[in-house]
Symmetry: C2
Subunit: 199 residues, 2 copies
Protein backbone atom coordinates (compact mmCIF):
# COMPACT_ATOMS: atom_id res chain seq x y z
CA UNK A 1 0.00 0.00 0.00
CA UNK A 2 2.86 2.40 -0.67
CA UNK A 3 0.86 4.13 -3.40
CA UNK A 4 -0.73 6.24 -0.68
CA UNK A 5 1.08 8.36 1.82
CA UNK A 6 2.25 6.73 5.04
CA UNK A 7 -0.58 8.10 7.17
CA UNK A 8 -3.29 7.07 4.76
CA UNK A 9 -1.80 3.56 4.54
CA UNK A 10 -1.78 3.41 8.34
CA UNK A 11 -5.43 4.46 8.46
CA UNK A 12 -6.41 1.86 5.85
CA UNK A 13 -4.55 -0.81 7.79
CA UNK A 14 -6.22 0.14 11.07
CA UNK A 15 -9.68 0.19 9.49
CA UNK A 16 -9.05 -3.19 7.86
CA UNK A 17 -8.62 -4.67 11.36
CA UNK A 18 -12.32 -4.08 12.02
CA UNK A 19 -14.56 -7.12 11.53
CA UNK A 20 -16.07 -7.44 8.06
CA UNK A 21 -13.93 -4.62 6.65
CA UNK A 22 -11.53 -5.74 3.91
CA UNK A 23 -8.75 -3.76 2.25
CA UNK A 24 -11.04 -2.28 -0.40
CA UNK A 25 -13.75 -1.17 2.02
CA UNK A 26 -11.05 0.17 4.33
CA UNK A 27 -9.63 2.25 1.46
CA UNK A 28 -13.10 3.55 0.63
CA UNK A 29 -13.72 4.52 4.27
CA UNK A 30 -10.27 6.10 4.57
CA UNK A 31 -10.88 8.30 1.53
CA UNK A 32 -14.25 9.29 2.89
CA UNK A 33 -12.64 10.27 6.19
CA UNK A 34 -9.96 12.29 4.43
CA UNK A 35 -12.60 14.13 2.44
CA UNK A 36 -14.74 14.92 5.50
CA UNK A 37 -14.56 18.19 7.45
CA UNK A 38 -11.98 18.09 10.24
CA UNK A 39 -14.77 18.64 12.76
CA UNK A 40 -16.62 15.45 11.77
CA UNK A 41 -13.40 13.47 11.79
CA UNK A 42 -12.57 14.66 15.30
CA UNK A 43 -16.06 13.70 16.44
CA UNK A 44 -15.57 10.17 15.09
CA UNK A 45 -12.13 9.80 16.67
CA UNK A 46 -13.40 11.12 20.01
CA UNK A 47 -16.44 8.83 19.94
CA UNK A 48 -14.19 5.82 19.39
CA UNK A 49 -11.85 6.74 22.22
CA UNK A 50 -14.57 7.81 24.68
CA UNK A 51 -16.78 4.79 24.19
CA UNK A 52 -13.87 2.45 24.79
CA UNK A 53 -12.41 4.43 27.69
CA UNK A 54 -15.63 4.76 29.66
CA UNK A 55 -17.34 1.47 28.97
CA UNK A 56 -18.17 -0.76 31.93
CA UNK A 57 -20.57 -3.56 32.74
CA UNK A 58 -23.85 -2.94 34.54
CA UNK A 59 -23.46 -4.19 38.11
CA UNK A 60 -26.69 -6.16 37.82
CA UNK A 61 -27.36 -7.39 34.27
CA UNK A 62 -23.78 -7.08 32.93
CA UNK A 63 -24.77 -5.27 29.76
CA UNK A 64 -22.28 -2.64 28.66
CA UNK A 65 -23.01 0.84 29.87
CA UNK A 66 -21.20 3.89 31.20
CA UNK A 67 -22.63 4.07 34.70
CA UNK A 68 -22.86 1.64 37.61
CA UNK A 69 -26.37 0.52 36.64
CA UNK A 70 -27.65 0.45 33.07
CA UNK A 71 -30.76 2.55 32.28
CA UNK A 72 -32.92 -0.60 32.27
CA UNK A 73 -31.77 -1.95 35.65
CA UNK A 74 -32.07 1.55 37.11
CA UNK A 75 -35.65 1.95 35.86
CA UNK A 76 -38.06 1.30 38.75
CA UNK A 77 -41.04 1.08 36.42
CA UNK A 78 -39.73 -2.16 34.88
CA UNK A 79 -40.66 -5.55 36.23
CA UNK A 80 -37.58 -6.72 38.11
CA UNK A 81 -39.15 -10.13 38.81
CA UNK A 82 -38.74 -11.29 35.21
CA UNK A 83 -35.24 -11.73 33.80
CA UNK A 84 -34.57 -12.34 30.12
CA UNK A 85 -31.25 -14.08 29.50
CA UNK A 86 -29.57 -12.93 26.26
CA UNK A 87 -26.24 -13.71 24.61
CA UNK A 88 -24.98 -10.16 24.20
CA UNK A 89 -25.95 -6.47 24.42
CA UNK A 90 -27.02 -6.42 20.78
CA UNK A 91 -29.65 -9.07 21.46
CA UNK A 92 -30.81 -7.02 24.42
CA UNK A 93 -31.16 -4.02 22.10
CA UNK A 94 -33.13 -6.14 19.61
CA UNK A 95 -35.71 -7.01 22.27
CA UNK A 96 -35.81 -3.44 23.54
CA UNK A 97 -36.74 -2.28 20.06
CA UNK A 98 -39.99 -4.27 20.30
CA UNK A 99 -40.94 -1.88 23.17
CA UNK A 100 -43.18 -4.64 24.54
CA UNK A 101 -40.90 -6.33 27.06
CA UNK A 102 -40.94 -4.62 30.44
CA UNK A 103 -38.82 -7.04 32.47
CA UNK A 104 -35.07 -6.82 32.98
CA UNK A 105 -32.18 -8.68 31.38
CA UNK A 106 -29.10 -10.72 32.08
CA UNK A 107 -26.32 -10.65 29.49
CA UNK A 108 -24.24 -13.85 29.23
CA UNK A 109 -21.56 -12.38 26.95
CA UNK A 110 -21.33 -15.62 25.00
CA UNK A 111 -22.82 -19.07 24.62
CA UNK A 112 -21.59 -22.48 25.63
CA UNK A 113 -19.73 -23.95 22.66
CA UNK A 114 -17.85 -27.22 23.20
CA UNK A 115 -16.53 -26.86 19.63
CA UNK A 116 -14.78 -23.60 20.50
CA UNK A 117 -13.88 -24.75 23.99
CA UNK A 118 -16.28 -22.29 25.66
CA UNK A 119 -17.72 -23.91 28.79
CA UNK A 120 -20.35 -22.71 31.30
CA UNK A 121 -17.62 -21.12 33.40
CA UNK A 122 -16.59 -18.90 30.45
CA UNK A 123 -19.91 -17.06 30.20
CA UNK A 124 -21.55 -14.88 32.88
CA UNK A 125 -23.68 -17.69 34.29
CA UNK A 126 -22.34 -17.57 37.85
CA UNK A 127 -23.55 -13.97 38.06
CA UNK A 128 -27.03 -15.06 36.94
CA UNK A 129 -27.19 -17.74 39.64
CA UNK A 130 -26.14 -15.16 42.23
CA UNK A 131 -28.91 -12.81 41.10
CA UNK A 132 -31.48 -15.60 41.42
CA UNK A 133 -30.41 -16.11 45.03
CA UNK A 134 -30.51 -12.45 46.05
CA UNK A 135 -33.35 -11.06 43.90
CA UNK A 136 -37.01 -12.14 43.98
CA UNK A 137 -37.35 -13.63 40.51
CA UNK A 138 -40.59 -15.17 39.23
CA UNK A 139 -39.53 -16.12 35.74
CA UNK A 140 -36.37 -16.54 33.70
CA UNK A 141 -36.92 -16.23 29.94
CA UNK A 142 -34.06 -17.79 27.99
CA UNK A 143 -33.56 -15.85 24.77
CA UNK A 144 -30.28 -17.25 23.50
CA UNK A 145 -30.19 -17.76 19.72
CA UNK A 146 -31.64 -20.83 18.03
CA UNK A 147 -28.23 -22.03 16.87
CA UNK A 148 -26.87 -25.31 18.23
CA UNK A 149 -24.83 -23.35 20.79
CA UNK A 150 -27.80 -21.19 21.76
CA UNK A 151 -29.95 -24.28 22.30
CA UNK A 152 -27.25 -26.05 24.29
CA UNK A 153 -26.85 -23.00 26.50
CA UNK A 154 -30.63 -22.75 26.99
CA UNK A 155 -30.87 -26.42 28.01
CA UNK A 156 -27.95 -26.06 30.39
CA UNK A 157 -29.34 -22.96 32.11
CA UNK A 158 -32.79 -24.45 32.36
CA UNK A 159 -31.45 -27.58 34.10
CA UNK A 160 -29.45 -25.38 36.45
CA UNK A 161 -32.33 -23.11 37.46
CA UNK A 162 -35.35 -25.44 37.53
CA UNK A 163 -34.37 -27.20 40.81
CA UNK A 164 -34.61 -23.80 42.52
CA UNK A 165 -38.33 -23.78 41.72
CA UNK A 166 -38.14 -20.75 39.41
CA UNK A 167 -40.25 -20.78 36.24
CA UNK A 168 -38.00 -21.09 33.20
CA UNK A 169 -39.29 -20.34 29.69
CA UNK A 170 -37.73 -20.27 26.23
CA UNK A 171 -38.64 -17.87 23.40
CA UNK A 172 -40.55 -19.64 20.60
CA UNK A 173 -38.89 -20.93 17.46
CA UNK A 174 -40.89 -20.92 14.25
CA UNK A 175 -41.61 -19.23 10.97
CA UNK A 176 -40.59 -15.55 10.98
CA UNK A 177 -43.51 -13.18 10.48
CA UNK A 178 -43.82 -12.15 6.85
CA UNK A 179 -41.66 -15.05 5.64
CA UNK A 180 -42.57 -17.25 2.70
CA UNK A 181 -42.73 -20.88 3.79
CA UNK A 182 -40.86 -22.03 0.68
CA UNK A 183 -37.77 -20.05 1.62
CA UNK A 184 -37.51 -21.40 5.16
CA UNK A 185 -35.24 -24.27 6.11
CA UNK A 186 -36.66 -27.62 7.17
CA UNK A 187 -35.50 -27.45 10.77
CA UNK A 188 -37.39 -24.20 11.30
CA UNK A 189 -40.48 -25.62 9.57
CA UNK A 190 -40.38 -28.67 11.85
CA UNK A 191 -39.97 -26.46 14.91
CA UNK A 192 -42.93 -24.37 13.81
CA UNK A 193 -45.01 -27.55 13.43
CA UNK A 194 -43.96 -28.93 16.83
CA UNK A 195 -44.65 -25.60 18.48
CA UNK A 196 -48.10 -25.11 16.91
CA UNK A 197 -50.71 -23.41 19.07
CA UNK A 198 -54.48 -23.83 19.09
CA UNK A 199 -56.48 -20.98 17.59
CA UNK B 1 -30.77 3.65 20.45
CA UNK B 2 -31.24 4.32 24.14
CA UNK B 3 -30.74 0.65 24.98
CA UNK B 4 -27.01 1.32 24.95
CA UNK B 5 -25.22 3.86 27.06
CA UNK B 6 -24.93 7.38 25.73
CA UNK B 7 -21.33 7.01 24.58
CA UNK B 8 -21.93 3.76 22.75
CA UNK B 9 -24.97 5.26 21.02
CA UNK B 10 -22.83 8.22 19.97
CA UNK B 11 -20.17 5.90 18.59
CA UNK B 12 -22.75 3.86 16.64
CA UNK B 13 -24.21 7.06 15.22
CA UNK B 14 -20.80 8.36 14.17
CA UNK B 15 -19.84 5.05 12.54
CA UNK B 16 -23.18 4.93 10.72
CA UNK B 17 -22.25 8.18 8.96
CA UNK B 18 -19.51 6.34 7.07
CA UNK B 19 -20.44 5.27 3.53
CA UNK B 20 -21.88 1.77 3.24
CA UNK B 21 -22.15 1.36 7.02
CA UNK B 22 -25.73 0.95 8.25
CA UNK B 23 -27.01 0.93 11.82
CA UNK B 24 -26.46 -2.82 12.26
CA UNK B 25 -22.91 -2.84 10.93
CA UNK B 26 -22.19 0.27 12.98
CA UNK B 27 -23.37 -1.52 16.14
CA UNK B 28 -21.21 -4.54 15.28
CA UNK B 29 -18.16 -2.33 14.75
CA UNK B 30 -18.87 -0.37 17.94
CA UNK B 31 -19.01 -3.54 20.02
CA UNK B 32 -15.81 -4.74 18.44
CA UNK B 33 -14.13 -1.45 19.33
CA UNK B 34 -15.40 -1.63 22.91
CA UNK B 35 -14.07 -5.16 23.26
CA UNK B 36 -10.63 -4.27 21.84
CA UNK B 37 -7.60 -3.39 23.98
CA UNK B 38 -7.40 0.34 24.74
CA UNK B 39 -4.07 0.46 22.91
CA UNK B 40 -5.58 -0.71 19.60
CA UNK B 41 -8.48 1.68 19.97
CA UNK B 42 -6.14 4.62 20.51
CA UNK B 43 -4.19 3.59 17.43
CA UNK B 44 -7.36 3.62 15.34
CA UNK B 45 -8.50 6.99 16.70
CA UNK B 46 -5.04 8.49 16.13
CA UNK B 47 -4.85 7.10 12.59
CA UNK B 48 -8.19 8.69 11.75
CA UNK B 49 -7.20 12.08 13.14
CA UNK B 50 -3.66 12.09 11.76
CA UNK B 51 -4.58 11.04 8.24
CA UNK B 52 -7.20 13.78 8.03
CA UNK B 53 -5.07 16.44 9.70
CA UNK B 54 -1.98 15.96 7.56
CA UNK B 55 -3.46 15.12 4.21
CA UNK B 56 -2.63 17.38 1.29
CA UNK B 57 -2.52 17.20 -2.48
CA UNK B 58 0.67 16.44 -4.36
CA UNK B 59 1.85 19.71 -5.93
CA UNK B 60 2.26 17.97 -9.29
CA UNK B 61 -0.22 15.13 -9.79
CA UNK B 62 -2.78 16.18 -7.14
CA UNK B 63 -3.05 12.74 -5.58
CA UNK B 64 -3.47 12.81 -1.82
CA UNK B 65 -0.28 12.55 0.15
CA UNK B 66 1.33 14.00 3.26
CA UNK B 67 4.29 15.76 1.73
CA UNK B 68 4.72 18.39 -0.97
CA UNK B 69 5.37 15.79 -3.67
CA UNK B 70 3.87 12.29 -3.63
CA UNK B 71 6.34 9.36 -3.66
CA UNK B 72 5.64 8.74 -7.37
CA UNK B 73 6.23 12.34 -8.53
CA UNK B 74 9.32 12.49 -6.33
CA UNK B 75 10.74 9.28 -7.83
CA UNK B 76 13.37 10.19 -10.42
CA UNK B 77 13.46 6.67 -11.80
CA UNK B 78 9.94 6.98 -13.16
CA UNK B 79 9.23 8.23 -16.66
CA UNK B 80 8.00 11.79 -16.21
CA UNK B 81 7.24 12.15 -19.92
CA UNK B 82 4.19 9.90 -19.72
CA UNK B 83 1.18 11.02 -17.68
CA UNK B 84 -1.74 8.73 -16.89
CA UNK B 85 -4.93 10.63 -16.13
CA UNK B 86 -7.10 8.90 -13.50
CA UNK B 87 -10.34 9.80 -11.76
CA UNK B 88 -9.17 9.45 -8.17
CA UNK B 89 -6.31 8.24 -5.95
CA UNK B 90 -7.86 4.76 -5.66
CA UNK B 91 -7.62 4.30 -9.41
CA UNK B 92 -4.01 5.43 -9.21
CA UNK B 93 -3.41 2.76 -6.56
CA UNK B 94 -5.10 0.14 -8.75
CA UNK B 95 -2.64 0.83 -11.59
CA UNK B 96 0.30 0.97 -9.18
CA UNK B 97 -0.59 -2.54 -8.02
CA UNK B 98 0.13 -3.85 -11.51
CA UNK B 99 3.79 -2.78 -10.93
CA UNK B 100 4.17 -2.44 -14.70
CA UNK B 101 3.43 1.22 -15.25
CA UNK B 102 6.48 3.42 -14.75
CA UNK B 103 5.10 6.77 -15.84
CA UNK B 104 3.52 9.38 -13.58
CA UNK B 105 -0.11 10.32 -12.94
CA UNK B 106 -2.57 13.16 -12.89
CA UNK B 107 -5.59 12.83 -10.59
CA UNK B 108 -8.75 14.58 -11.77
CA UNK B 109 -10.69 14.11 -8.52
CA UNK B 110 -13.89 13.46 -10.42
CA UNK B 111 -15.38 13.06 -13.89
CA UNK B 112 -17.46 15.33 -16.04
CA UNK B 113 -21.11 14.50 -15.39
CA UNK B 114 -23.75 16.77 -16.94
CA UNK B 115 -26.37 14.74 -15.05
CA UNK B 116 -24.87 15.73 -11.70
CA UNK B 117 -23.95 19.21 -12.88
CA UNK B 118 -20.21 18.51 -12.80
CA UNK B 119 -18.51 20.39 -15.62
CA UNK B 120 -14.89 20.49 -16.84
CA UNK B 121 -14.17 23.38 -14.47
CA UNK B 122 -15.17 21.24 -11.46
CA UNK B 123 -12.42 18.65 -11.94
CA UNK B 124 -8.65 19.24 -11.85
CA UNK B 125 -8.32 19.67 -15.59
CA UNK B 126 -6.84 23.17 -15.56
CA UNK B 127 -3.92 21.80 -13.53
CA UNK B 128 -3.36 19.09 -16.17
CA UNK B 129 -3.25 21.67 -18.95
CA UNK B 130 -0.74 23.73 -16.97
CA UNK B 131 1.47 20.67 -16.52
CA UNK B 132 1.39 20.00 -20.26
CA UNK B 133 2.68 23.53 -20.87
CA UNK B 134 5.51 23.43 -18.34
CA UNK B 135 6.61 19.77 -18.45
CA UNK B 136 7.98 17.85 -21.44
CA UNK B 137 5.21 15.33 -21.96
CA UNK B 138 5.29 12.75 -24.76
CA UNK B 139 2.06 10.92 -24.06
CA UNK B 140 -1.11 11.33 -22.04
CA UNK B 141 -2.88 8.06 -21.24
CA UNK B 142 -6.50 8.62 -20.31
CA UNK B 143 -7.54 6.00 -17.76
CA UNK B 144 -10.92 7.31 -16.61
CA UNK B 145 -13.52 4.56 -16.07
CA UNK B 146 -15.57 3.09 -18.90
CA UNK B 147 -18.82 4.52 -17.55
CA UNK B 148 -20.67 7.10 -19.61
CA UNK B 149 -19.11 9.86 -17.49
CA UNK B 150 -15.63 8.34 -17.79
CA UNK B 151 -15.97 8.15 -21.58
CA UNK B 152 -17.30 11.70 -21.82
CA UNK B 153 -14.38 12.96 -19.77
CA UNK B 154 -11.91 11.00 -21.90
CA UNK B 155 -13.33 12.47 -25.11
CA UNK B 156 -13.29 15.97 -23.67
CA UNK B 157 -9.68 15.77 -22.51
CA UNK B 158 -8.52 14.22 -25.76
CA UNK B 159 -10.08 17.06 -27.80
CA UNK B 160 -8.45 19.57 -25.48
CA UNK B 161 -4.95 18.11 -25.66
CA UNK B 162 -4.64 16.88 -29.24
CA UNK B 163 -4.27 20.36 -30.83
CA UNK B 164 -1.09 20.79 -28.72
CA UNK B 165 0.44 17.91 -30.69
CA UNK B 166 0.77 15.59 -27.69
CA UNK B 167 0.01 11.91 -28.20
CA UNK B 168 -3.22 10.99 -26.41
CA UNK B 169 -4.17 7.35 -25.77
CA UNK B 170 -7.04 5.63 -23.98
CA UNK B 171 -6.79 2.36 -22.00
CA UNK B 172 -8.48 -0.52 -23.85
CA UNK B 173 -12.02 -1.64 -23.17
CA UNK B 174 -12.85 -5.31 -23.59
CA UNK B 175 -13.45 -8.64 -21.95
CA UNK B 176 -11.83 -8.84 -18.49
CA UNK B 177 -9.14 -11.51 -18.26
CA UNK B 178 -10.57 -14.72 -16.84
CA UNK B 179 -14.16 -13.68 -17.53
CA UNK B 180 -16.71 -15.99 -19.12
CA UNK B 181 -18.12 -14.43 -22.27
CA UNK B 182 -21.68 -15.42 -21.35
CA UNK B 183 -21.62 -13.29 -18.21
CA UNK B 184 -20.44 -10.12 -19.92
CA UNK B 185 -22.77 -7.35 -21.03
CA UNK B 186 -23.33 -6.65 -24.73
CA UNK B 187 -21.70 -3.23 -24.74
CA UNK B 188 -18.46 -4.71 -23.43
CA UNK B 189 -18.64 -7.56 -25.95
CA UNK B 190 -19.13 -5.05 -28.78
CA UNK B 191 -16.20 -2.99 -27.52
CA UNK B 192 -14.04 -6.09 -27.40
CA UNK B 193 -15.00 -6.89 -31.00
CA UNK B 194 -14.34 -3.36 -32.25
CA UNK B 195 -11.02 -3.26 -30.45
CA UNK B 196 -9.84 -6.65 -31.72
CA UNK B 197 -6.12 -6.95 -32.48
CA UNK B 198 -4.30 -9.10 -35.01
CA UNK B 199 -2.46 -12.12 -33.61
Amino acid sequence: MEYYSKQISTLIEELAHLPGIGQKTAARLAFHIIDSPMENVNRLADAIRDARANVCYCKKCLTITDSELCPICADEKRNHHVIMVVENPRDLAAYEKTQKYDGVYHVLHGVISPMLGIGPQDIRLKELMQRLQTEAVDEVIIATGSSLEGETTAMYISKLIKPAGIKVTRIASGVPVGGDLENIDEVTLLRALEGRVEL
